[in-house]
């Protein structure tokens, strides 16, 4: 059955398999070669033709294209110059044509039918000579000139420059495929080089297909294995069918040493308990491969090992790092159920520098987080995870989170030790009257450093804006007149702490021994019509009371009004003795 609801044109189990297979292909690829179409036919059963498979793929948005054959060896023009790759990496470039065309390359280029920029320019001796005249001075001058000289020499061979450009693009993608990048990720990497997207898809498909052909498939290892399962990789695994490493003589010689990643960090992401974010600073040379395993590596950080040794450790994370605003690469990873370690390895050719390792165990967050308000004070309680020693509690007004224009200055954080939590009956803090979003992280003592669990979050509802009221004698001459006439009159004074809309109020007088707790607990002696209130402008209302005293005088929000009209106001009475009117 087709999951997206569209009707299948190929009834029967073969058609269903074809559709499922096409859907699976489309998850990872936007372009495939004829080989993949044939494979899909074979997987779908005998009744499915290549044309049907092609149509099924196209319906899923997968283009079928002829894939180019990828060069196994570097073009002879640069094969004669083993320092070529090293010169480029020292210049921080992936493609030599960047030195020739500069920023013009950013507008896009193609390589499949010879190097051609989107503006129509080609790579030839003339262009290279122009670039040589503009070689920057300074420390990079020699390396820059060296690369352009090699290109100028190559320009003498017909088609050599096109081969070099094509080789360089392929050589950018091949290590990524070895690191486990998906085909879509390869496409993205190719487009980041400014390669035209259509060609990027074709080249990514070709590289992925080549990688798939060269990779022995271990039937015992499912695609998504736990970290304890060894890697199912790849070109570094000894296998007769695997592409051999280039002969030592033809390997590029690198003079700059590999530098390990020393600042790999893992942190939990707010509001997502199942994700951890890894971040690291990219090293100057080489690619960073993240490998996950059940145990930390036996090599110490900084050790340079053979890539086939690195491949034997855990499995690679099939992911692309995304540059963050702080120039660090980031990658989000689903937290594994079991304890796991992620190690960053800087890979170049056949070497890997072991970098730092982080533990990313999925620790259970605090459970049963609950909050109870006592006015401005909020008391939080939760159930601690095993081994937690302390908790970090952060809160922030919900309005500040929802409104991106409000600065996050309202965020506060405190630490609560488990001992204090148990002794003091939870965690209490004055958070104010506004609604708060509270997050609690448990901190667990690790072997070498603390681990922070995913946060548990709760929304603490707001209380109404406090409006204080008080009962006073009528001041001045009119008060004296009331006294002489034995009239029982009082001034009800209302004062808001913030600007608000006062709902309709009723004033209740009661002669019962107990103070009235609800409007029906006495006789309504006055009604106050709702109005906007300002903190600087208290509202005074004179209330005529019954003839006999003493009595209680209290104020309530009119319950007869619908709930929205009652507003978000909390009436705060004065000390109870002030409510007693003689």
């Amino acid at each position: 059955m087709i999951q997206d609801g569209s009707e299948s044109r190929y009834p029967g189990p073969g058609a269903q398999r074809l559709d499922r297979g096409a859907a699976a292909v489309s998850e990872d690829a936007s372009c495939v070669g004829p080989g993949r179409v044939d494979q899909l036919c074979a997987e779908s059963g005998p009744g499915v033709t290549a044309a049907e498979a092609r149509k099924a793929l196209e319906r899923r948005g997968v283009r079928v294209a002829e894939l180019p054959s990828l060069p196994a060896q570097p073009p002879s023009a640069i094969g004669r110059h083993p320092e070529f790759a090293d010169l480029l990496s020292r210049l921080g470039r992936k493609l030599s044509i960047e030195l020739v065309f500069g920023s013009a390359l950013k507008r896009g280029f193609r390589v499949l039918k010879g190097l051609r920029l989107e503006d129509g320019r080609h790579l030839d001796r003339e262009v290279i000579d122009e670039a040589r005249q503009q070689t920057p001075t300074g420390a990079l001058h020699d390396d820059w000139s060296g690369v352009l000289s090699i290109l100028a020499d190559a320009a003498q061979e017909p088609g050599a420059l096109d081969d070099i450009a094509f080789w360089e693009v392929v050589e950018v993608l091949r290590p990524l495929a070895r690191l486990g990048y998906s085909q879509r990720a390869l496409t993205e990497q190719a487009t980041r080089l400014s390669l035209e997207r259509g060609e990027a898809e074709v080249l990514a498909a070709a590289v992925a297909e080549e990688h798939a052909m060269l990779t022995p498939r271990d039937p015992a290892a499912p695609p998504k294995t736990e970290p304890s399962v060894p890697a199912v990789d790849r070109s570094t695994v000894a296998d007769p069918g695997v592409k051999p490493d280039p002969p030592a003589a033809s390997r590029p010689v690198h003079t700059e040493p590999l530098q390990p990643v020393t600042d790999l960090q893992a942190r939990t992401i707010r509001s997502r308990t199942d994700i951890v974010q890894l971040s690291w600073s990219p090293p100057p040379v080489g690619m960073v491969s993240l490998r996950i395993a059940a145990e930390p590596p036996t090599w110490s950080a900084g050790t340079v090992i053979a890539i086939r040794d690195a491949d034997s450790y855990g499995r690679p994370l099939t992911a692309t790092g995304v540059p963050g605003p702080d120039r660090r690469m980031t990658h989000e990873l689903a937290l594994p159920q079991a304890r796991a370690f992620v190690t960053a390895m800087t890979v170049r050719d056949a070497d890997a520098a072991v970098g730092s390792t982080v533990e990313i165990t999925k620790r259970a967050p605090v459970r049963g987080l609950s909050a109870r308000r006592f006015g401005e004070e909020v008391r939080l309680t939760w159930t601690w995870p095993e081994d937690a020693i302390t908790a970090r509690v952060a809160w922030q007004p919900s309005a500040a989170i929802d409104d991106e224009h409000v600065p996050s200055a309202g965020r506060q954080q405190r630490t609560c030790s488990r001992r204090a939590y148990d002794a003091e009956g939870g965690f209490s803090a004055v958070m104010g009257h506004a609604a708060q979003r509270v997050a609690v992280w448990a901190v667990i003592a690790g072997t070498d450093r603390e681990q922070v669990t995913a946060p548990a979050e709760i929304e603490v509802p707001q209380t109404g804006i406090p409006v204080h009221y008080d009962v006073r004698r009528v001041p001045g001459f009119s008060g004296l007149v009331s006294l002489v006439r034995r009239q029982r009159r009082r001034v009800l004074r209302l004062r808001a702490t913030r600007r608000c809309v006062l709902p309709d109020l009723i004033v209740v007088e009661s002669r019962h021994p107990g103070i009235p707790l609800a409007p029906h607990g006495g006789e309504a002696v006055a009604k106050i019509v709702g109005r906007p209130m300002d903190p600087d402008m208290p509202l005074n209302v004179v209330v005529e009371l019954g003839a006999d005293g003493p009595s209680w005088l209290t104020c309530f929000i009119d319950p007869a009004k619908p709930a929205p009209a009652r507003g978000r106001v909390t009436l705060v009475p004065p000390p109870v003795a002030r409510l007693r009117v003689r």
Binding site: G368, R372, R373, F374, G375, E376, E377, R379, T381, W382, T383, Y421, D422, A423, E424, G425, G426, S428, T463, G464, P466, H512, P513, G514, I515, P516, L517, G521, T570, L571, V572, P573, P575, V576, A577
Partner: protein
């Protein structure tokens, strides 16, 4: 009342048996060390102690020495001793007994009203929060209190998350008699380097002791000698309270003899027995516990929805607000007659609302989360402020 250190006191109350005696009757107990002649006292059964507390094991020789107040020489062994014992029950008296004030507080209430939990949580709170707030400490005054409180009360509740078993009846079995818990309340005196100390004795009556006239006789003495009384009442035993309470809190059907009004009447009869017909003068703190089952009923801005006061004493304004609020709630809980009865029979009483656990326990008498008490310190702070042991904070 300030004690005059040089004059003997005529009326002292033993913090263990609550019997009254003059200071010169205080007895001494041999230290057990060998005297100058090498003689030693051998422990032997103490009939006086056994008559009060059942079997307590063999004790060293007790004797009276009217010429000395704080140390004496054992007539049997000749060894000097400073251990003083009550002349009535032969309990070892706290170190400064007679020289410092003592305040005997009877903690009483119906069965399952939460007396033991209340006292345990109060003591724990005092150790962790209230003590800092008041600048005071409240250690156990004797080994039995120190060990028993930690082992039988605090650990069980705070670490075992288990509610204590119902306190057994005093009348039921003398062997299982639970003596009062005696603590020494110490706080900084106005003069540097000096402290003010007071003995606090909490006698935790079993709820069953108050359900019949016969069983209340044994408690009469304690209530009679007590300086103040904390009466714990359970609003869930009142029909109106049950109507408003959270359903999870209503795990047991109320027993007629545990009705708060009946309990109050019986206690009042005990206090008034043998006296002229007049109002009871002892301060009475009437504490309605288990407020957690009724929290949802209290409106925002209510005194029972406020944070607890943080002042270094008894906040009189807050206390009065709570008193009036609980008084009004009594009418909602169908407890109007309680208020009327108190008005007619007591000169000094105040209502309190508290939650010792902060949450409803599970049906198997366990606490599912952390103990999060609310206002458990208020009643005792009020009583201590009445005895001028803590400050009364009066705000305008």
């Amino acid at each position: 009342m300030v004690a005059l250190p040089l004059l003997p006191r005529f009326r002292l109350a033993c913090p263990y048996c609550y019997k009254i005696f003059p200071e010169w009757q205080i007895e001494f107990r041999c230290s057990g060390r060998a005297g100058p002649g090498g003689e030693r006292c051998e422990p032997a059964p103490d009939p006086q102690q056994e008559s009060h507390f059942g079997s307590t094991g063999d004790q060293l020789h007790s004797f009276r020495d009217v010429r000395h107040r704080y140390r004496a020489v054992c007539p049997v062994s000749g060894a000097q001793t400073t251990t003083r014992v009550c002349p009535r029950c032969h309990s070892v008296l706290p170190v400064h007994f007679g020289r410092i004030n003592s305040q005997l507080i009877a903690l009483t209430g119906a069965r399952d009203s939460g007396k033991t939990v209340f006292m345990t949580v109060f003591m724990h709170e005092f150790g962790y929060r209230l003590g800092d707030r008041l600048g005071a400490s409240i250690p156990g005054a004797d080994d039995e209190t120190r060990n028993s409180f930690r082992r039988d009360y605090e650990q069980r509740l705070y670490e075992g998350h288990s509610l204590p078993d119902p306190t057994f009846t005093v009348a039921a079995d003398r062997q299982g008699y639970r003596p009062p818990m005696v603590f020494k309340f110490k706080r900084q005196a106005p003069f540097p380097g000096r402290t003010r100390q007071t003995l606090l004795s909490f006698f935790d009556t079993a709820g069953e002791d108050l359900t019949t006239k016969a069983s209340t006789e044994l408690n009469g003495r304690y209530l009679e000698a007590a300086d103040a009384i904390i009466l714990i009442l359970d609003p869930l035993q009142m029909s109106g309270g049950r109507r408003l309470a959270a359903r999870a809190a209503l795990q047991q059907d109320p027993r007629p003899e545990d009705d708060p009004y009946s309990v109050l009447q019986r206690i009042t009869e005990m206090l008034q027995a043998g006296h002229r017909d007049r109002k009871v003068r002892k301060p009475l703190a009437v504490v309605f516990t288990k407020l957690d089952a009724l929290w949802h009923e209290f409106p925002e801005g209510s005194a029972l929805n406020r944070p607890e006061p943080k002042s270094a004493g008894c906040d009189e304004r807050d206390s009065l607000d709570v008193h009036r609020h609980v008084q009004a709630l009594l009418h909602d809980w169908d407890g109007r007659q309680i208020d009327q009865f108190l008005q007619h029979h007591y000169r000094c009483y105040r209502y309190f609302g508290a939650s010792a656990l902060g949450a409803i326990p599970t049906p198997d008498r366990r606490v599912s989360g952390v103990i999060q008490p609310y206002r458990v310190g208020d009643p005792i702070l009020w009583l201590l402020s009445r005895a001028r042991m803590v400050r009364t904070i009066r705000r305008s």
